[in-house]
């Protein structure tokens, strides 16, 4: 269970004979969960998954290659999940709320992966795969805008610049989730995003409805 990449579509047949590549990514995520992205070191990964240094390089080229690969895996998983929720939604309001709750649910279900996404984005954006990231982000955004457009035309949605939409709709949930994920210690802990699930969804709708 632990090492599933896509917990969503889980119908693993018998049992993959320990895929090295996946082992390495899982180990990397574990490292990151423990000490942040910076804690993803070749040796840390090696120690966790039993792969050899050479094997890691064989699959990922270099350290950043691991981080980037993991990032994109998670990024796509998240996109897929949110998109699925969006597709299932009936009507404008339900759609906007699905974006928020789809994201929120995914974060609550996979806090470590969500945290990694927040932490690693900067590094990936700074590295050689910048274009890939830009492309992935663009694709995601396009899908979103495509979904919004007809409703904007019909007047169900307020007329807002499309560059602003992601921030207006997702900004609050992301902000809250980020804060929640930062609370590593159970100290002055913020309540789970779940607590405010409907409030956040409603607020998003309030912001963009006509």
């Amino acid at each position: 269970m632990a090492s599933r990449i896509t917990p969503t579509s889980s119908t693993a047949p018998a049992e993959a004979p320990t895929d090295r590549r996946q082992d390495i990514l899982n180990a990397a995520l574990a490292c990151a969960a423990e000490g942040g992205v910076d804690a993803v070191s070749i040796d840390g990964v090696r120690a966790r998954c039993g792969a050899s240094v050479g094997s890691i390089y064989h699959h990922f080229g270099n350290r950043d290659g691991i981080v980037a690969a993991l990032f994109f895996d998670i990024f796509h998983d998240q996109s897929r999940n949110v998109q699925a929720q969006l597709d299932a939604a009936q009507g404008v309001e339900a759609g906007v709320q699905a974006l928020v709750t789809g994201y929120l649910d995914w974060v609550v279900a996979q806090p470590e992966r969500a945290r990694f996404l927040f932490q690693a984005r900067g590094a990936v954006a700074a590295g050689p795969r910048t274009p890939d990231l830009a492309e992935a982000a663009r694709r995601r955004n396009e899908a979103l805008v495509a979904w919004f457009e007809p409703h904007q035309q019909s007047g169900a949605l307020r007329d807002l610049p499309c560059e602003l939409m992601p921030s207006l709709v997702m900004g609050p949930v992301q902000s809250y989730c980020r804060a929640w994920l930062s609370d590593r210690s159970g100290q002055g802990a913020l309540p789970s995003p779940d607590t405010y699930r409907s409030e956040l969804a409603a607020a998003a709708w309030r912001t963009v409805r006509a």
Copy 2:
């Protein structure tokens, strides 16, 4: 307080004979601007400001001390600016909008420092000054809640859980500013937050008004 970083309150007397402490912080910011927080190394700072290794340690104790000191300097500067805008606002709506625009204006005026704030928060939160950060955040939040409360009582503001307020009000601006700051290359560049100044302010008000 000779060499204030904030160009806002500038009343530098004659000319401080280059304050070492400040030189070091400036150099650290420059390093971070170039290569992210991780690029703030003792040697990088030394090379930029001419201070000796020993001198740096004398002033800040250790590497994280530099990052933390810079972080708190900037954090307080930002708080002060936003608070000033809030204080100057007349009425609930103006207050909520002042929070957004005060933040936005500060970010646009100081992109490098804003970027540093985003990048360094994690590191500071993980280090020994966690309580200081928590305290600073608490204080800031308290001021905000204190300002909101009477209006919430009076029914001018929607009744929302106070843990959610910061994310609802500031989430979208922060989200947009963060995205804007990430665009290092002028490539597919997002427009300056200034462009959407009023839209963001209006959206915040829409979200929390009764």
Copy 3:
């Protein structure tokens, strides 16, 4: 026929379906031309010629095997060329000069291979094929001495210790060629050895004639 190793004796039948062994050696030479003998790595070679790691090992046993094989190929090619020139020469003086010009012409015609010979000798001499190298050098020297002997007997050549002959005759050309080959950038470039072809040949004769 770009990839012929011995452009001299070329009687390639139809068209070898890209001989793996030769491909590998060519790739190795290309690596060396770009970054010196040390740059001849299994992976570099693999990347250049498309052979698999296993295939390379199948043909050459180990890395040094590639370098050695290439070295001996080139060494023999050079020897053959110089010997051919020597055989064609009429008389003592012409013979001595043929040694110089034969060498010089070969170097000018094959600068990369000549460079490799200079660079790789040390490595080959240090490796397990030391005896092969010694034997090859001995055989070459023997041929030379055998050619010189009658003329030394006849008094046409100065009476010099035979250990010194190679250095006296070939030292200057080799020295000049080596310097020329070292000039990778066309900067303060030395003129081609061709420029001084006759001078070098004449000087050799001056040194050893009676």
Copy 4:
């Protein structure tokens, strides 16, 4: 004695308090003597001289920095020695012979350093200090040509292109010394260059006299 850097001007007063920089260079030379330039590794050096990794980097920047520094030290020492011999010579013939014997004597006295010079030149020439090497070589050559010129004018020396002079005069000794130095094992050992000291000097004179 063996590890003096400038065996010439030795009047070391009491005893330098183990100069780290020099210790490191000595250790590097020892490594090279044992396994060639490639055997000069940070760790090998460290193990030999007790310096820490950091200390080595503090002084030389990187591995190649050590090799280059050692190379130039030795190069200058050699130049100084040969120049001294040349300065002491009376007359053209004596001068030409001094160049040869000065070089030869230095090589015989310092075989390890001479070997290093041969081995390291390529690496230095390929690295970032190429211009320094070019400059050093140019300066040396200039001194030589300046010495030759008047004699060439006076007709005592044959009229030869100055680019050729170094190879004609020094080619044979260098060739022989190089071969001698390559003979690491006492096997088919070549006799010491000393054996042919006068022959080599005489041959050089024969090559360039009018």
